[in-house]
Amino acid sequence: MGRRRRLVDPAAEAGAGALPKVIAALSRSLPAGPSPEIFRRAKFDRPEAAPALWQLLFRLLSPRSADGASASLALEAQVCLVKSALRSQGYPRLVLAQLPEDGSRGSRELLLALSWLLARGPLPEQLLAQAHVQLGDEIPVCECEALASPGPRVPHVEAEGPVDIRCVQWLMGRLRFRWRCLIASQQEQCTLLSKLLRRLERENTGLEAALEWRRGELVFWRWMDTVLGACPPEAPAAATQPTFLPRIAERGLGRLELAARELRALQEELCEATGRRRAAWEARVGGQGRGPQWSSARQALQKAVEQELAALRWAWEQDRGPARPHGPHRLVRCEDEAPGGQHLRAAEVIQALRSQEACLEAALRRLQGQCRQELARLAGALPGLIWILPPRC
């Protein structure tokens, strides 16, 4: 088994209670982690430890989204899934594939499979990152999807003539209802806050467990050595079996080739079509684009382009060194003025957003102007028809 041998630090603790603590931390940082007693029994291949370990492996290997629904799968189904998942990931030991489907035996093999998964990568940390509680304090940067939304409408009040008392009663009633709705939404906020706090607590426990596991995992690996030692030696012929990889059927390969050829042909067609269109447009535009009515349009265009260039240039100057951050960022309050690195200050983000806003607004005005001109042209083309253009806004 090609297990990575970690450097053993002799100065690391070797207290009698260290191993159970480390295993307990491991199982706390995994979903559905069994108790340390199960681990101990598994070393001696006790059958009663097998179901818990099958279920743990199932939770680790099954796709993330099937969390809730798959918990109700029967043990046999879980066993099958675990076996096929391990096989497709290249797990080398064949004994596991031969374990009975009812999940009643093989706890030592399962323990070895678990430690194989742990050795390949930072499994607890990956799982915790996947289950991270979304707090809504993330903001995407440089992803231009903001839509301008108008603010809430201000109700406009007319005060003319004597007011009917019933009107006043009506308004008082509305006020009372709004107040009651406010109470309801405050209660909702409290419920949701408490739910959020509970989820955060669970996440914190998981994170603490992962830390504890990392601190003491040497003890675990030394113990796993003894487990491997307790296993009967593997037959040598088995070692030459290649890793099982999913095979693409022959027919599938042919189809793949066909699809690739079709895509390439499509791409050539598209290039041709765009080339033709571009030529035609240039021919059309080449004739126009002169004359007084176009100079103002051109000026507006030039100004807009200059603005965008300025924004780009500013962005470049801000940030010569590492690549400009792109993607979601979390809002964090920070006392110290820790510079650069991967952090962005709120002021920079606001400025970037403002410049984007300015560019978009200029683009909007330009497009509106074009629309107006087009409408005016259409209106001129149909005499006898009166067109009322929308007001400038």
Partner: protein, 396 residues
């Protein structure tokens, strides 16, 4: 935000089932009328409103079923469970072994207090399951016996216990042909009690809905289930999500809050009615085309002529009645064209009688009520309150 529904009596439970069924079909329908994004936004905003949707389970209606006999409740529960698409909560109902004779006073003064704790506990459990409560929706009939009495009592309790929550009562106006005088007494008592403790009373008339079924939907044998389905469709149209003013893909979150704030702020005007168009069966919808402007115009015509049906609008010239309130697309229901006192109409049914006879007639059926604690004064109080309501509407 979520709405907790309380279904009372035979009427309330049957209608409640149809309402939930309609709402569920609407939220989860896969008609390809809109873009996928719109469908998802709609579905997301329907979530949690009327159903408690767990990840891998059947959605559970946020409802409490109350009735004094088990027959209708069992039918309702099993119909929902059989559909396989949604169901009621396993223990979200309250019923007794035996019915208790169609008596409003019995329902209000005996059943109510006796079972108050159990019923309110059930409601409390439903409320706790909600992340946020928009309010209560109570379905009951107006002229029934125990259902209406208990309904009035429960609404009063809700007012005491959840003073800040919004409450809307859906009440069914009985058929005009059922001229049992007890029905009239029951209606008076129900209306007056509800007027004091509820925020809005949404009235549906069995007659009107029956006519819609007969004339417009071409149903030959009209069963209660048909009537209830039309009713449920109207209610569903009112409660399903509506767009914010600001933009698309943003739905408003508080259905009851929005309705109440815009329709019943004034404490004296709590009666509501519903008009909806088009009134046709689902099958005919595919063969008709509508424009928004046309629909609105039609609706306005119905409103002006006080019609409840799309067709047969009577355009007689009449002296101007009341004006329209300043806001609201849904009209207030001017339910009574009384020109005499309610007491007169209810007891004497409009006939001109001597005053001595009046006394005799009044006491004729009263013993059923006084036996359980509803005295003559309660009746007089109720009359006064309703007279006041009628006068306020008349003076609009």
């Amino acid at each position: 935000m979520s709405i907790v529904t309380v279904q009372l009596g035979q009427c309330g439970n049957q209608i409640g089932f149809e309402v939930f069924d309609t709402l569920f079909s609407d939220s989860h329908s896969s008609q390809g009328l809109c873009s996928k994004r719109e469908n998802e936004a709609y579905r997301a905003s329907c979530k949690e409103r009327f159903f408690n949707e767990e990840e891998n389970g059947v959605p559970i209606a946020r409802a409490v079923l109350v009735d004094m006999e088990p027959k209708v409740i069992n039918q309702t529960l099993s119909k929902a469970a059989q559909s396989g698409r949604w169901k009621y909560g396993q223990h979200a109902y309250f019923c007794q072994k035996q019915g208790s004779g169609n008596n409003w006073a019995y329902g209000y003064s005996v059943h109510g207090p006796r079972h108050e704790e159990s019923i309110m506990n059930l409601i409390q459990k439903e409320v706790e399951k909600c992340d946020s409560l928009s309010g209560f929706f109570i379905i009951m009939s107006m002229a029934g016996g125990t259902g209406s009495g208990i309904g009035a009592f429960v609404t009063q309790n809700l007012q005491d216990q959840y003073a800040h929550s919004l409450k809307m009562n859906q009440i069914i106006w009985p058929y005009g042909t059922g001229e049992v005088i007890v029905q009239n007494y029951n209606s008076i008592l129900t209306l007056s009690h509800l007027y004091r403790s509820s925020d809005a009373l949404l009235v549906h008339e069995n007659d009107a809905v029956h006519k819609i079924c007969a004339k417009l939907m071409n149903i030959k044998q009209i069963s209660f289930s048909d009537i209830n389905q039309v009713l449920a469709h109207q209610l569903g149209s009112v409660f399903q999500p509506v767009y914010c003013a600001e933009g698309s893909f943003h739905y408003r979150r508080n259905p009851l809050g929005d309705l109440m704030e815009n329709l019943v702020p004034h404490p004296e005007f709590k009666m509501l009615g519903v008009r909806n168009i088009p009134q046709m069966s689902e099958n005919s919808l595919a063969y008709s085309t509508f424009t928004w402007a046309g629909l609105l115009k039609h609706l306005r015509q119905m409103l002006i002529s006080h019609a409840k049906m799309e067709e047969g609008i009577d355009w007689q010239v009449r002296p101007p009645l009341s004006g329209l309130p300043p806001l609201g697309k849904m009209p207030l229901n001017k339910e009574l064209h009384f020109n005499t006192s309610i007491a007169n109409l209810v007891i004497l049914r409009g006939k001109d009688v001597q005053s001595a006879d009046l006394g005799k007639k009044l006491r004729a059926y009263l013993h059923q009520y006084t036996k359980f604690g509803i005295e003559e004064e309660d009746f007089l109080d109720s009359f006064t309150l309703l007279e006041q309501v009628v006068a306020s509407y008349y003076n609009l």
